[in-house]
């Protein structure tokens, strides 16, 4: 039906209720900002293509980060430059939705340069609207990859020098070199006829996206009157005079009738199916009854630290995995250097009944220090009244703290006696069980085949001995 009135499109929210402050009926954009114009064209196309209820918009970092205030769509806000990655996931997990990635030039062409190229190369079912205003607008008008040669910005006070700063990045040209993209066009907002062309491009991209015809890329030459320090009308003239020469308008790619509907493998969204695939029971079943755990050990935040190869990560995983079987909430967070062995390594494990907040054990209730540097580094972080277990085989200094409980356990020695240093991890678990009373040794041993899936019975038996040895040492000596 032909329109008889042009007014705020239905692709916008009625009221921008998430926008802070009193002005919930207008945008935060500066007077004359090109974002507003493009927003209107997108919102109108959403209404006219009847996709308001199936659009998910990924907002970038930049002035348009707040696109989520305005559009009546689902939203994700991506880390700087990562909108195409988030859009990829969103599109694949929601094949019936229209996914828009809205990005500026700093976001798309600088920090997110590789993200956009990879998403384009995969031909993701997303519509990308790339706003090119030749600077970083939000942060105060710094040089962007798209800044013109000779253009003065706050970081190029003498003008962009191509010998030091490189040349303006032509993203449509770059993207159109790839095979996958369906539709690539550069348009401009500098006057009413060009706004109409932009409107057509927006509609075409969104129609293609609605039909899931792969990757749509629309570069929109826009203005930043505030960053350019020009009035809005002058800035439109500047686009025409300066930017069009460097960024020629036009269609760079249009597969047209040949554009295929791109279908991806169907995602698994049923939790039950995911758990089944992972071999995990969908029920939050508790296999083991809890023993008598003293209050001080009921909310554990544990740091396990040592060097790579000491079974630090395995210790942490084993503690978390076993605790899970008692119905605790757990988390495990590794932190290690680039080396697989020999570098420093530590992990944080949380075991408690309540909701776990930060996974990192910044102030652990227990430190399990496997070597001297770890003791020196983390001893001071233990909370007062907390617990320290240290590997007395390798650590030849005494802990300094007097306000904590200390257990010196020759972990490496115990493992060596069993004939394999690598079973230290389960010695740790045994010692932990003895100190906290949280785990029953027999339960841990029962779980070993699950923890060491695919390992030989010999290894499982050896680890069973290790658990017992760690447990017994603590029981006999403390």
């Amino acid at each position: 039906m032909r329109k008889t009135v042009l007014r705020k499109p239905k692709g916008f929210n009625d009221v921008y209720k998430h926008k802070p402050g009193a002005e919930k009926d207008r945008t935060h954009y500066c007077p004359g900002c090109g974002h507003g114009i493009l927003h209107k064209l997108i919102a109108e196309a959403m209404e006219d293509l009847d996709i308001v209820d199936k659009t998910i918009l990924i907002s970038p970092v930049g002035c348009s980060v707040f696109a989520y205030y305005y559009f009546d769509a689902g939203h994700f806000q991506a880390a700087h430059g990562r909108a195409p990655a988030i859009a990829t996931a969103t599109s694949r997990a929601n094949p019936d939705k229209v996914v828009i990635s809205y990005q500026g030039d700093g976001d798309l062409a600088a920090i997110g340069g590789n993200n956009i190229i990879q998403a384009a190369n995969r031909g993701e079912n997303i519509a990308v609207f790339f706003v090119n205003n030749a600077i970083y607008g939000m942060t105060g008008g710094q040089m962007a990859p798209t800044t013109l040669e000779g253009q003065v910005t706050t970081t190029t006070p003498y003008g962009r020098n191509v010998d030091t700063d490189g040349y303006p990045m032509k993203m449509c040209e770059v993207i159109s070199q790839l095979t996958a993209p369906t539709y690539v066009e550069r348009v401009s907002l500098h006057d009413a006829p060009h706004i109409r062309k932009t409107r057509n491009a927006v509609r075409k991209a969104l129609l293609n996206a609605k039909e899931r015809k792969g990757f749509q890329f629309v570069e929109v030459l826009s203005t930043c009157p505030s960053g350019w320090k020009m009035d809005p009308v002058k800035s439109m003239e500047w686009v025409k005079e300066k930017m069009l020469g460097m960024y020629p308008l036009g269609v760079y790619r249009d597969k047209g009738e040949e554009a295929k509907v791109i279908t991806r493998p169907v995602p698994i969204l049923e939790p039950g199916t995911v758990w089944e695939k992972l071999g995990i029971s969908a029920e939050a079943d508790v296999d083991f009854p809890r023993g008598d755990v003293p209050d001080e050990y009921r909310k554990m935040s544990i740091r396990v630290a040592g060097f790579g190869g000491q079974g630090i990560m395995v210790t942490g995983q084993a503690l978390a995995s076993v605790a899970l079987e008692y119905g605790y909430n757990v988390s495990w967070l590794p932190s290690y250097g680039p080396e697989m062995r020999g570098g420093t390594a530590n992990c944080s494990v949380n075991i408690q009944d309540g909701t776990i907040g930060a996974a990192e054990a910044v102030k652990p209730t227990m430190l399990l220090a496997m070597n001297r540097p770890s003791l020196e580094k983390f001893e001071k972080t233990i909370v007062a009244g907390g617990t320290l277990i240290y590997n007395s085989t390798l650590i030849d200094i005494e802990p300094e703290r007097t306000d904590i409980k200390v257990f010196a356990v020759p972990i490496t020695g115990i493992a060596d006696e069993l004939g394999n240093t690598r079973v230290q991890s389960l010695v740790n678990v045994g010692a932990y069980a003895a100190i906290t009373g949280m785990f029953n040794v027999d339960h841990v041993i029962e779980l070993l085949p699950k923890l060491f899936k695919g390992k030989s019975q010999t290894i499982i038996d050896l680890n069973a001995k290790a658990v017992k040895a760690g447990f017994d040492y603590v029981k006999e000596n403390f």
């Binding site: 009135v5 009413a192 439109m236």
Partner: protein
């Protein structure tokens, strides 16, 4: 007749940021800056009262979602839902 009721452009003065893009885009020059200020302190755009041809340039040039409404020639307030 250029002074018919429709087409007509209407600027919501308190939502206007005074950027002037609609004024520059208007082919008939029937949008002007008001000498008055709105609640935000901008000289807002306003329709001169006649001469609009309903091209919609002002609507599409305006960066504010809800600052301009253009009633086209066939607009009938009776049919508005």
């Amino acid at each position: 007749m250029t002074d018919a009721k429709y087409p007509r452009s209407e600027v919501k003065k308190d939502k206007c940021k005074g950027c002037g893009l609609c004024i520059a885009a208007c082919p008939k020059k029937v949008l002007v800056f008001s000498p008055k200020l709105n609640s935000k302190g901008y000289h807002y755009a306003e329709y001169a009262g006649s001469g609009c041809v309903g091209c919609g340039n002002c609507f599409y040039s305006c960066p504010e979602p809800d600052a301009i409404i253009v009633y086209l020639r066939d607009y009938d307030p009776e049919k508005e839902v």
